[in-house]
């Protein structure tokens, strides 16, 4: 009797676990591995990932990363995720090569692996999601100036150093599309070497040698801050527009002063959202990472993969007085 009731009990337990088990198996676990915990940018990305999880349903986000930005720390985190048998790992890497062995191991165990923001070498991931692309950035920086200059006018570029690869590519891309914005006339390109004092001086120089200057485009975070400061010190805030690429925390005061109306950089929330969507679609088998193939990113459309299985998420996100307050404490 006693024995029988025990058997019944254990059967009930088994039935119970069986009943729960399918629900657990349905919950897909996606790990968002970041460079280090406690960085505003990545906390915001985690917010985006949660947004995607809520939209998809049945997805659990594991937001994790080392406490300092080291590859060793990330490898430990990845190994523990493999042990937990997560379904997907989306990583922003501290080192593009050091993580490859650990991530390869994850892939051989059937875990979907993608990198986002800061990439991993192609053999260590199924695809890489770039926040944006050079042509999109080049277009955006001149578009922001043009949007506020309906009648066109003279604009100048304040770059980092004359040999800075990123900046040179963006400026080249910008110059390709500048013809699409009638009346916008790029009168000079100067170099502040990413030094506050030199950038400030170059911005002053632009203002005195081009009296009709309407906008300064600085696709570098040191340069855009220095240019905005130089413009407001010259009492020309609102008269000469400063735009380009910068971080909301660094630009908040200059948007407030009116020296800058808008500037762009990636939106970390969208980035976390897109990384989660892509991980989900790949892990579910709804999409495959192939050169030229497309993977859905929910509300952000789809990413098209290039030769080395990487793709660009979207246009850089524009920040202005309407949204800067929400982002200035994030990154």
């Amino acid at each position: 009797m006693m024995k029988k009731s025990l058997k019944v009990l254990s059967a009930a337990v088994v039935a119970g676990t069986l009943a729960i088990a399918p629900a657990q198996a349905e919950d897909m676990r996606i790990a968002l591995v970041v460079k280090a915990l406690g960085i505003g940018f990545f906390e915001a990305a985690a917010k985006g990932a949660e947004e995607a999880a809520a939209e998809l349903g049945g997805v659990e986000i594991i937001y994790t990363g080392p406490t300092d930005t080291t590859a060793e720390g990330q490898i430990e985190v990845i190994n523990s995720l493999i042990a937990q048998k997560v379904d997907a790992i989306a990583v922003s890497a501290n080192d593009q090569d050091a993580l490859v062995p650990a991530l390869k191991k994850a892939m051989t165990r059937g875990i979907t692996v993608i990198s986002w923001d800061s990439g991993v070498a192609p053999e260590g991931r199924q695809m890489h999601l770039n926040p944006s692309s050079n042509p999109l950035i080049g277009n955006m920086i001149v578009k922001m100036a043009a949007d506020h200059l309906p009648d066109g006018g003279d604009v100048a570029v304040l770059s980092a150093s004359a040999t800075a690869t990123n900046q040179n590519i963006w400026i080249e891309e910008m110059n390709k599309v500048v013809g699409n914005y009638p009346g916008i006339n790029v009168v000079a390109t100067v170099y502040g070497d990413d030094l506050s004092d030199k950038s400030y001086r170059e911005a002053q120089g632009l203002m005195s040698s081009h009296p009709d200057l309407k906008a300064i485009i600085a696709p570098t975070s040191v340069g855009i801050v220095a240019a905005a400061q130089a413009v407001s010190d010259a009492g020309k805030a609102g008269e000469i527009l400063v735009t380009g690429l910068g971080l909301p925390s660094e630009m908040a005061a200059h948007v407030e002063s009116g020296a800058s109306k808008s500037f762009a950089i990636w939106n970390p929330i969208d980035l976390g959202y897109a990384a989660t969507m892509i991980s989900y679609n790949l892990a579910k088998g709804d999409a495959e990472a192939t050169a030229g193939g497309e993977i859905g990113m929910g509300r952000l459309g789809a990413v098209t993969l290039g030769e080395s299985l990487d793709g660009a998420m979207a246009d850089p996100f524009v920040y202005d007085s309407s949204n800067i307050a929400d982002f200035k404490d994030i990154f």
């Binding site: 004359a162 030094l195 506050s196 002053q204 005195s208 801050v225 220095a226 660094e250 005061a253």
Partner: protein, 320 residues
């Protein structure tokens, strides 16, 4: 003609040359702007002059500036109600403390100054990273008063320029009217003779390092509030500009020779070049070459001036 006068003439000639290409450059407003922009370099050059006079060199000035600037910015972000004058005093003290580290190492351990300050140059930068965690202190985190001081105009001149003028006056007084100032020259001119006149060579060098540290500290606050941003790399490589300003100003790296006027003119020489290049529309690659060439030409002039004075003595000896 004195070396300072030659340098002043060269400066005027250069301003004239630039205004041929860009007429607005020589206007009083523009020149005051150049002086204001060069203020920080002038203050640093004055500190460097004191150190160089004692036959030492301080390569850690820009790192000291950056570290003190970061401390000021973080203090202001954390306690915005702290009066700015107090912050300026704190900046000076932090700078002097950092300078005294250099001074002690040179004085007590007798390590060559170039090695000591090359070490502290890197250490100070590293400390900025440690205390700031690599994060920037941004304009919106600084209090309005913190940013306003260097821009506030008194009698038509921004406070930044006034601070430079005050430093020039004080340094002129120290160098020409105090025993300490004479000791700087004595120690650099002939350390052995200085000992016989009762000057403590080590202590004098220590004092020079503390002085240059304190001036770097003041510049730390000025820099951070002028550009309204503080991060690890601010004023990176600026120590070389400071040394160049001194060399151009005729302050002998071998010690014992130099003047306040020389340091100021040397800094202004560089300041004019830095401010002229953006408006004369020259390729950035040429800009660097031009800055370098100007420095070498100035130094060649100085070297010639020194040699000539040597020859004159010989000629007099032959004739008598």
């Amino acid at each position: 003609m004195s070396r300072d006068a030659i340098l002043a003439l060269a400066l005027i000639a250069m301003i004239g040359l630039v205004s041929v290409r860009f007429p607005g450059f020589a206007s009083p407003d523009s020149l005051l702007g150049v002086f204001n922009d060069t203020s920080i370099l002038i203050i640093l050059a004055l500190g460097q002059m004191a150190v160089v006079l004692t036959r030492c060199i301080d390569l850690s000035m820009a790192s000291n500036l950056a570290l003190t600037g970061m401390c000021c910015a973080m203090l202001n972000a954390a306690y915005p109600q702290l009066p700015i004058v107090l912050l300026l005093v704190v900046a000076m003290l932090i700078g002097a403390l950092l300078g005294s580290i250099n001074g002690v190492l040179v004085w007590k351990l007798d390590i060559p100054p170039i090695v000591v300050t090359l070490g502290t140059l890197t250490i100070f930068r590293g400390v900025i990273f440690l205390i700031s965690d690599g994060q920037w202190v941004n304009a919106h985190e600084m209090s309005p008063a913190f940013k306003a001081l260097p821009r506030a105009e008194v009698l038509g001149l921004p406070m930044l320029s006034w601070v430079a003028l005050i430093c020039i006056a004080l340094m002129y007084f120290v160098v020409t009217r105090t025993p300490q100032g004479r000791a700087f020259f004595a120690v650099g001119g002939n350390p052995d003779a200085a000992v016989y006149t009762g000057i403590d060579v080590g202590r004098t060098r220590f004092n020079a390092f503390v002085l240059s540290g304190a001036l770097s500290g003041i510049c730390g606050y000025l820099w951070v509030s002028r550009y309204a941003v503080a991060y690890v790399d601010i004023a990176g490589g600026f120590e070389l500009d400071v040394v160049a300003a001194c060399v151009i100003g005729g302050i002998s790296i071998a010690g014992g020779i130099g003047s306040v006027a020389g340091a100021v003119l040397g800094a202004l020489f560089l300041g004019v070049i830095k401010n002229a290049l953006p408006v004369v529309n020259i390729s950035p690659f040429w800009q660097q070459a031009i800055s370098g060439a100007a420095i070498i030409i100035a130094v060649v002039f100085n070297a010639r001036a020194e040699r000539r004075s040597g020859r004159i003595i010989l000629r007099q000896a032959e004739t008598t």
